[in-house]
């Protein structure tokens, strides 16, 4: 019994040591993930941590931060702290969804393009065309034509990101398909779907996860820009971009309306970017070497 207890202690220690060692080797992953986790918690618990972000209080408008209001109030007397914390929901929702949508479509199209020459020729010309349009401009045009809603914003931000994912996946597929083990799989009669899913797909995952973090960071910035320009999330939903857009007119009198959501947005994007850099170094040494 004692021996078993001893053994379990040894196992627990070695696991803890292993995690500790991994964290020490890739500190950026830990820092990025922790920061992102904090932001996720804030987004989930915003309703419990603060008051109603839409509650108007004209008597207390444009209050300086600190006077009973941690981040001050805006031009309608709304609590900037509550609005900033609630704003994290939209940013994270848009960032994570855009990363998921563009990765899914980019992966599917990229796998097919890497394996079918005719499809490749047609699709890659189309992708080159979309890449030539600045992504913010394309997203703005899509939102302005279809009307603002969170779903439309996610789609509009994801579409310009898809070509970048397609190019990445396609380049990996083109390299992997020439590998001897793929030739071996073909020679023993493996079918195309099996080759793609079993032999090619796993090789695309590491660079894809790294790319997804960059898409997520860029999507959060684009969402804020769209809302800032008045072509994003509907104004009745507090998103960081909306709060900043509303605070523009009062910038000289009440800069805190812009700065607090701005700082939160920056920290969140920074967390995702740091996590992405860490994952790149940890998961894909080839790309890491090129980027270092």
């Amino acid at each position: 019994m004692e021996a078993i207890a001893d053994q379990s202690v040894v196992v627990r220690e070695s696991l803890g040591a292993r995690v500790w060692q991994y964290c020490r080797r890739h500190p950026t992953i830990v820092i990025g993930a922790l920061l992102l986790l904090v932001m996720l918690m804030i987004a989930l618990l915003a309703s419990y941590l603060t008051v109603d972000p839409m509650k108007l209080n004209p008597i207390k408008r444009l209050r300086v931060p600190g006077e009973g209001m941690l981040f001050g109030t805006d031009m309608y007397g709304r609590d900037v702290f509550a609005r900033t914390l609630h704003g994290s929901k939209i940013s994270l929702l848009v960032g994570l969804s855009a990363a998921a949508v563009s990765t899914f479509f980019g992966l599917t199209i990229g796998l097919m393009a890497g394996y079918n020459r005719l499809f490749d020729t047609i699709v890659m010309r189309f992708m080159d065309g979309i890449m030539a349009i600045p992504s913010i401009l394309l997203a703005i045009a899509l939102v302005s034509l279809t009307g603002a809603s969170v779903g439309i914003v996610i789609v509009a931000i994801s579409i310009p990101e898809i070509p970048r994912v397609v190019r990445l996946v396609r380049s990996v597929v083109l390299t992997i398909r020439e590998q001897p083990y793929v030739e071996a799989a073909i020679s023993v009669g493996a079918r195309l779907p099996k080759i793609l899913l079993r032999h090619i797909l796993p090789n695309t995952l590491a660079p894809l996860i790294v790319q997804a973090t960059y898409v997520c960071a860029s999507a959060m910035i684009t969402e804020a820009i769209l809302s800032f320009l008045g072509a994003g999330t509907p104004p009745d939903i507090p998103s960081w971009g909306n709060i900043i857009a509303e605070g523009r007119q009062y910038f000289q009198r009440a800069p805190w309306i812009i700065f607090f959501p701005g700082i939160f947005l920056t920290i969140t994007v920074l967390a995702v970017n740091i996590l992405g850099d860490g994952l790149r170094d940890g998961l894909d040494p080839r790309i890491a070497r090129q980027m270092r």
Partner: protein, 331 residues
Amino acid sequence: MFAYVIRRILATIPVMGVVAIFVFLLLHLTPGDPAAVIAGDYASPADVERIRETLGLNKPLHVQFFAWTGRLFQGDLGISIFSKVPVIKLIGQRIEPTLALATTTIIFAVLVAVPLGVLAAWKSGTWIDRSVMIFAVLGFSVPIFIIAYSMIWTLSISLHWFPVQGYKSFLIESGFGLEGVCRDTGRSGCGLVPFFRHIALPSIALGLVYVALIARITRASVMEVLTEDYIRTAHAKGLSSRVVLIRHALKNASVPIVTIIGIGIALLLGGVVVTESVFNIPGLGRLTVDAILHRDYPIIQGLILIFAGVYVLINLLVDISYTFLDPRIRY
């Protein structure tokens, strides 16, 4: 070489073709009646019918597309729904501030980023290198309007070093313009100081993300070259570090750097829209935002085509420049 240039120019045709198709279809891919989308929520049926008639939206799709591309080749980008002025004229009126902003930003970014990247590569592993890399990650993470408002708050409002907003025309201030009259003094041109004072903050705000991008690639590219044998030979010959870095390392690392400057143009053009809004610069970016708010579709179409055209053209020049930068590249 000549054949390559021709081939490369021809390769831009399908890209621009796809952009044109995409821009044309954008309105038709959206759910609902395109005329109603343009007219907005408060339009009467007569307004919708008038827009449908003006834009030819009642004709078959392929007829509309060929008529539209036919007009494009004649330089006709359509007429603004809101102001009734030809789109090409509106773009012509607003192009100078955007060109000035983009040019000063690129010059600022390259002048700052390339030395930073080279320095980081040379001092690899030291605090200088780490600081540059931290700056590069930060530059990517701070949205343009946050940088812009922080700079306005500190440098314009608190220290009064720069004007808060606005733009002074390069053509008018320099005295090169046709109008040639300085707004402040009434004389022909009042020097370039007002122009630079107004363009400095927007260029820096817009340029920081670009600096981060170029510095990062410069560092990676120079670091790779520094491991080459000819660098060791150059050091062994007794050449100074400066000569080795600039003449041997940077020159051989230039292809990826020039490539990223070209690719980053898309980032820059997107950023122009935000920067011009924050600093109240009457350029193409502001025109874009105004067009969106009015749902002025011909202007949005025209601007996307112009921005995509500039991107394609710059990347064409980048590709052609490879043969000059690296004589080993032969097509």
